[in-house]
């Protein structure tokens, strides 16, 4: 390639020359904006992320691992896994059912139903916990009856599950509804015409179409379920070793000045959050067309 051709090639590919296209910002403005965005994000998000691991490893790797093996820490990890294992499938089933109901049928009050499903996002988690305490707490009629019959909800696992389901309620449904609206009903109707049963249509026609959106919604739901604090703090009663989830245990350790233990538990949850983000990014890159692309959170 001759020098002239090389130069021509270079000038076509790089806008960083003195000449500026009128639909771009000047280079100094660009640099300032990038610096503000990247610098701001490093300070606001990067710094807290780093400090979690720094504090967890302040007394070394062994101390951090040992703190996670204490009886309270292990009980908290087990409880959080249990709660997540119950709450996330509940929400996935609800999300699929709600999306099927809303997108495959026409009925009055659909917009109102969608608003109700979205409602938990605009209610404070603490208020959500309060509502559950008022409904099922020992001071209410139903709560007293349930406690008398040996099935307490508040200050026990069912209450924590209910609180977790409340705060994560819209995640799966919100992700599925736009995707299923876009895909319409014709594929399902074709399968029915060919004689497939309802379940077969769902499993072999609908599910393959929505699987990435379902995974995406479930992922967001899982991350939130494992980390929920406000609602769980209210309904759990914070009984050590019994109703203290991982985030609640972080608070307990922190208030007892067990810094390494608190931050080690926090680092464990942070590691999971980073893993979630990674999966989410991969899903967005690979299957952008099958996700509800314009609502990215």
């Amino acid at each position: 390639m001759s020098d002239a051709a090389l130069n021509l090639h270079r000038s076509a590919g790089r806008p960083a020359r003195p000449f500026r296209r009128p639909t771009e910002e000047a280079a100094p403005a660009r640099i300032v904006l990038i610096a503000v965005a990247v610098g701001g994000l490093m300070l606001l998000v990067g710094a807290p992320l780093v400090i979690v691991f720094v504090e967890a490893l302040a007394r070394g790797w062994a101390a951090a691992v040992a703190s996670l093996q204490s009886r309270d820490a292990m009980a908290a990890i087990r409880l959080t896994l249990l709660i997540t294992a119950i709450a996330v499938p509940m929400n996935a089933v609800f999300g699929i059912a709600a999306a099927w109901f809303i997108t495959k049928f026409d009925f009055r009050g659909k917009a109102f139903l969608i608003t109700l499903i979205d409602l938990p996002f605009s209610v404070s988690p603490v208020v959500a916990g309060l509502c559950i305490v008022l409904l099922f707490g020992a001071n209410s009629a139903m709560g007293a009856w349930l406690v008398a019959n040996g099935f307490p909800i508040v200050f026990a696992v069912p209450g924590i599950v209910l609180a977790t389901v409340f705060v994560t309620f819209p995640f799966v449904a919100r992700e599925l509804i736009p995707v299923m609206i876009e895909q319409g009903r014709s594929e399902e109707e074709a399968a029915l015409t060919l004689g497939a049963s309802g379940w077969r249509v769902f499993l072999t026609v609908t599910l393959p179409n929505i699987r990435w959106a379902l995974l995406y919604g479930t992922l967001l739901c899982t991350a939130r379920a494992m980390g929920e604090f406000g609602a769980v703090a209210v309904v759990s009663g914070k009984i050590r070793g019994q109703t203290a989830t991982m985030p609640i245990t972080i608070e307990m350790f922190y208030n007892e000045y067990l810094s390494v233990a608190a931050f080690s538990m926090a680092a464990l949850l942070t590691g999971f959050a980073l893993f979630t983000l990674m999966l989410k990014t991969v899903l967005e890159l690979r299957h952008a067309d099958q996700l509800a692309a314009t609502r990215r959170h």
């Binding site: 904006l33 985030p247 314009t294």
Partner: protein
């Protein structure tokens, strides 16, 4: 759509009973009954008594603090979020993909983790707190700390609502503006920013709603001094710990009412701005 139609139109697709049953059962159990219990508690307590609780100086101060700082945090996120979205869509720089993914970290990170991490950073003996304290600016255990935590939890909303809108801006619009002699700054102010406004306001509203109810990330850094750094959700927790269910319900109802009023106001502003700009 269905004002004239029957309640439910029959279609060939099966599963109506099952899907409607699961949806309505879960919705009732998880959302409607608990919220109903709160409203019923408020009703049995009586409007006058609810007002008496809300009107106490400590409650009033907490509500005002929560909403004021949430507004200021969402306002910061509005500006920063639009800049971030613009940079992420329009510019190329190393590490962009990681930065883009990092925007979502506040969604993925448990709030209690964010709370203790921010406190460790900004406490007077923390890495950043010791620096700011030298110029007499204490962040942790003051209202600045609460604001900082609310900025953190609301960070992704504006960016994530504005990004797709920037991606869809057609080059012709900016070209037309430049051809007509507008400077870049002029195009930005009068052509691009108005197009981003409705989406940015949606993000602002989401960030605001999230911040008003936020608890986990705030209580660690707030200091929780009554009348000064005590947020409204904490007040509910305190009332519950003292078994004051009526007072807790009163504050909860006040929070619900104020947040819905704010969301309604923002929706109206949005309709107005869409109409003024003349596109959807």
């Amino acid at each position: 759509m269905a004002t004239r139609a029957p309640l439910i139109q029959r279609t060939a697709i099966p599963g109506l009973g099952l899907s409607a049953g699961i949806t309505l059962f879960m919705l009732s159990l998880v959302v409607i009954l608990p919220l109903g219990a709160l409203l019923a508690k408020g009703a049995s307590f009586g409007a006058a008594n609810v007002w008496e609780v809300v009107n106490r100086p400590r409650v009033w101060a907490a509500l005002w603090l929560s909403f004021r700082l949430s507004f200021l945090a969402a306002a910061f996120n509005l500006v920063f979020g639009v800049i971030l979205a613009w940079v992420l869509v329009r510019y190329r720089f190393p590490g962009k993909r990681i930065i883009d993914a990092a925007v979502d970290l506040p969604f993925a990170l448990p709030t209690a983790v964010a709370g203790i991490a921010l406190t460790a950073l900004y406490a007077p003996n923390g890495v950043l707190g010791s620096l700011t304290n030298q110029i007499g600016w204490q962040i942790a255990y003051t209202q600045w700390g609460i604001w900082m935590a609310l900025v953190f939890v609301g960070l992704p909303f504006v960016t994530r609502t504005v990004q797709p809108v920037i991606e869809e801006i057609e080059a012709e619009i900016e070209e037309a503006s430049a051809t007509l002699g507008a400077s870049r700054l002029h195009t930005m102010r009068h052509v691009i920013l108005p197009m981003l406004m409705p989406a940015a306001l949606t993000g602002f509203a989401l960030a605001l709603a999230r911040a008003v109810g936020e608890y986990g990330s705030v209580i660690f850094i707030a200091g929780n001094i009554p009348l000064r750094t005590e947020i409204a959700p904490l007040l509910i927790v305190i009332q519950l710990e003292e078994y004051n269910y009526d007072a807790a319900a009163a504050i909860g109802i006040a929070m619900l009412v104020i947040s819905f009023a704010m969301l309604l106001a923002i929706n109206l502003i949005q309709i107005w701005s869409r109409r003024r700009i003349g596109h959807v």
